[in-house]
Point group: C2
Chain length 292, copies 2
């Protein structure tokens, strides 16, 4: 791939802030891969984004990881929500990440998903991380460059809400292959997700599709379907913004319980399996479009 400055952009440029814009000359000072990066090979990086908080982005990221892992892929999750990390809790992973000469060692979930999250770096999981943007983005960058991910087919990045520092850094500095958008039925959530879609389009990675979470609740007593956040509008929203609609998910108390218990890997959802299948097709369509 040729950068704006006319240079050849290689994988080695990924950790360089001037990647894609430097000239041949300045490139003589080539960005160096860290030992952790040399020890890792990540095939596809997928960012999961919503814009609005609380639409179940971390749940969707986790379910997606589980689904890919069940299909035999090697999967990692980079929890980029530094001030509100929830991935370790969902997988029941506690304790702290180890360190080797090569870099930070990503702990594994029960079934072998590699995880990195700020909550695996601190003493107590409810200690707050009171940091401003520059430090937060430095941590996110380190989770990519200093963690020994090893061989991964997929690295999923769980982005925090909003279109601020972390998503900017992830889209600018990490070689993201594509994005999965998550929304919930409220017009309000869709308004914010449209902001996120417009942001991603500024940075150009393809959007694989939109998932509408919490579309309805099924009464556990009478099976009545209730649209607690309003009428699902994900399909229309996807058409309007011209991205594939991957499907809708219910607000499922079982998932909440399993997530709280750190047992998301026990969750079975034929509905989500369908979504994961559609997503796999979309990823395949974009294969070879690596946007470093």
């Amino acid at each position: 791939m040729i950068g704006k400055g006319g240079c050849t952009v290689s994988e080695a440029c990924n950790s360089c802030s001037a990647a894609g814009t430097c000239t041949g000359e300045s490139c003589s000072n080539e960005p160096k891969l860290t030992d952790a990066q040399k020890a890792s090979h990540i095939d596809k990086i997928i960012a999961v984004m919503s814009g609005k908080g609380g639409v179940g982005k971390s749940s969707v990221t986790s379910m997606l990881a589980v689904s890919l892992m069940r299909q035999g892929y090697k999967v990692g999750i980079l929890d980029a929500d530094i001030t509100g990390p929830s991935v370790p809790r969902i997988f029941g992973v506690t304790g702290r990440a180890g360190v080797s000469k090569t870099g930070i060692l990503a702990p594994q979930s029960r079934d072998g998903i590699k995880l990195m999250s700020l909550n695996l770096m601190i003493e107590t999981e409810d200690d707050p991380v009171i940091l401003r943007g520059p430090l937060i983005t430095q941590i996110v960058n380190q989770f990519y460059t200093e963690v020994v991910w090893g061989d991964l087919d997929y690295l999923l990045i769980d982005l925090p809400p909003g279109t601020g520092d972390v998503p900017i850094t992830v889209f600018q500095s990490l070689p993201v292959d594509g994005v999965v958008m998550v929304t919930s039925p409220q017009s309000l959530a869709n308004m914010v997700v449209r902001k996120a879609i417009k942001m991603v389009r500024n940075y150009k990675p393809p959007i694989y599709g939109l998932i509408e979470n919490m579309a309805y609740v099924q009464c556990s007593d009478c099976n009545h379907r209730m649209e607690v956040f309003g009428k699902p509008q994900g399909k229309d929203e996807a058409e309007r913004t011209n991205i594939p609609f991957l499907g809708e998910l219910p607000l499922d108390p079982t998932l909440a319980q399993l997530s709280d218990a750190g047992k998301v890997e026990d969750y079975q959802s034929p509905v989500f399996d369908q979504i994961a299948k559609r997503l796999a097709e979309e990823i395949k369509k974009h294969s070879g479009e690596k946007l470093a």
Copy 2:
């Protein structure tokens, strides 16, 4: 109040980044009130915070504003969620904020609640705000110092999720009187809310109490009560963290519909009225403890 540097901290210091830490000498260069601040008198500033996104912080802020307004108070909302603003949509306020010689004019809701939000400063509500922390916090500061709030009994600040730039700036630079915490039943949300509680305690404004939102859904067909996010645990959480428990709210489809339609001022909730009453008592207890 005496600052760390030994100086006297006055209201005039609020807009100064060195407030509370400067020495008498550096204070000779006294921070000046803006024209907008001179034209405003705000009695109480309450920050609404959750740590985790999507627990209904903006809904609670809005309902609280409506409840105070119905009691005859003059109320404003500063939407500090710069990259995911939702307050104007909830109140059906569109268009852009005006400007006068004195400062930015906060648009009013149908029933007279003054609002300031990034979405009132941009052309199209779904345009993304792709800004890093320093600019975002500058905007939040300006929403306080450059907006002609006029006479207000209460200014509610709707904080974004997390414990990053915006909450840091709000607690460091604005004379917040107290904080309302919002959570939802998931242990995960409670873990993140504990981070927020610990953060607030670093900055010392009192926490008036905890509201547990989305505690249950009532089936519209058979009235069965479902705890879709798991067993409510707000009361226990409040006891554990030693803050007053203000009450629990259902996940109410009517509120979602009215919020989407911009008609939150039509929402009636006896349950919330009780919560607002308890909150008023807590605020009264802390009166006179202004923490500039």
